[in-house]
Point group: C3
Chain length 212, copies 3
């Protein structure tokens, strides 16, 4: 694990730690609901945590991946899965859909911010940068659901989710155009995305129903 | 959007526009049948349109992707999805499997031709070039079906589909060996693929049934 | 097809041939059980055989892929699928889950060894090298199951499978640390992985059940 040259790099690192744990937990809970074995739990947790960022790096042709640079994270995910399995068994803890909402919302905002930042560093056009933020935030969950043989929740639960990351990404891009400092664009993306998601859940916003 | 150096590049560009719209529509129709929300419709349309070509470029290690070079296409897909949703709701238009056949057949031939061309430019062996044409044409639909939690239609509907692109790709490669001009190889691939597909549907050809 | 500079390269080549055939057969059997058509059988066999290695090479950014360097393999897979379909139809051969166990176990050990070797050549950290072995061995089957719209067998059948490749990979890495010759590390990984898998099936070991 390397040291950080600027406080901003430290902030981004801490953001990625928090988001990674949040997403891995969403993978553990989904795997538990599907009654996967320990291998399935670890792989689905890993894919939920790193799948979005890895897909973004594949598309942007960036190497090495985050989890290759920071191998400690992979050990952390394995430990998290072991602890979660023991804890859930001990406490007869029934993971509910409700329990997945909070880690998902936080991780979404954090990952979108990091994704936009990486894409902008690779000099992508604005729309592509926003898409990369969205992919980083949403496709971990999408790959998790595909592996668990479900239609991705992000596509059919009719509550705004990816849309929040889309708006948050544009907030980030907008502030970049105004030459705002890096910490501010990052913060704006996180707050707008997670805030909108929270608001959407609290007010029970629904995406228009597709009647055919 | 850049200008074109030769008429041939313009032709290839126009082909990609037409094929992209056709495939995006197949994604919209599939998403509508699965009752996805607006986010799901846009993502599935995007994956159906650009998934095959993006997978090909990932495998051939070609960057930037078509949709990064021509960001206008992504805006176009988003607009298409919005219009399609409004239109379908207004007109109580029930998308049927029949409605998906024509755009699929056209897109298949067009994408296969482009895929073979890109692979040949990357100096791939003939069989790999044909496979890349097939991937470009077929895997947009395969990824669309995987995201919608279906066995890919290309693999189990027993009507020749990918096979048409396979034959069309070899027609393209054969003409290249004879040093035919580029526009002719492109045209041959499109006509053979789309023609065979049309013929297969019209005459109701069936792939042999696997009896076990 | 190129010649081999050392006996070790020949051994690795032969390993890849044997593992490729074993995995392609597992794809054919799965496709037959899902009643896919000839196109589906070929694609699923191809993905089962080359999917793990291709995903590894994508992640490690290694080109050209094995099947691009050795196009003969692709022709071989196509021939294998044709022969298997004819044979199964002639003999009313009902492929059972039991028939899939042996080729899977052999292929798993062989592919894991090759994956660890490639990752070590790319100077990956030990844990990532083991993961790459696991991905090479397991993700062909995972992609096969995802295409066939099943929860991957590797994740939910509660019999040790990926875990065997994980242990085998560490055996390989451990011998590398002791500067054992290349053929020995390769052999150790294959024997440990396939041996553990055989033992697990024979003694009917079960991964702990997740009770929630």
């Amino acid at each position: 694990m390397s040291w950080f040259e600027t406080p901003f790099e430290l902030l981004r690192y801490l953001l990625e730690v928090a988001a990674t744990i949040a997403f891995a937990l969403s993978g553990v809970i989904m795997a538990a609901r599907k009654r996967l074995d320990i291998v399935g739990v670890c792989v689905v947790a890993f894919v939920a945590a790193f799948g979005g960022g890895t897909l973004r790096d594949l598309l942007l042709d960036q190497r090495p991946f985050f989890w290759v640079r920071h191998v400690g994270f992979v050990w952390g995910i394995l430990a998290l899965c072991a602890v979660a399995m023991l804890f859930m068994r001990q406490h007869h803890f029934q993971p509910t859909e409700r329990a997945m909402l909070l880690p998902d919302a936080i991780g979404l905002g954090l990952f979108a911010a990091v994704g936009v930042d990486v894409a902008c560093a690779a000099e992508m056009p604005a729309l592509v940068a926003v898409m990369m933020g969205l992919i980083t935030g949403v496709f971990g969950g999408v790959l998790r659901d595909v592996l668990c043989n479900e239609i991705p929740q992000a596509f059919n639960d009719h509550r705004p989710y990816a849309l929040c990351a889309f708006v948050g990404g544009w907030a980030d891009i907008g502030l970049r155009q105004l030459e705002a400092p890096a910490w501010l664009t990052l913060l704006a993306c996180v707050v707008v995305t997670a805030g909108l998601r929270g608001l959407a859940l609290w007010r029970n916003w629904q995406l228009p129903i597709w009647r055919v």
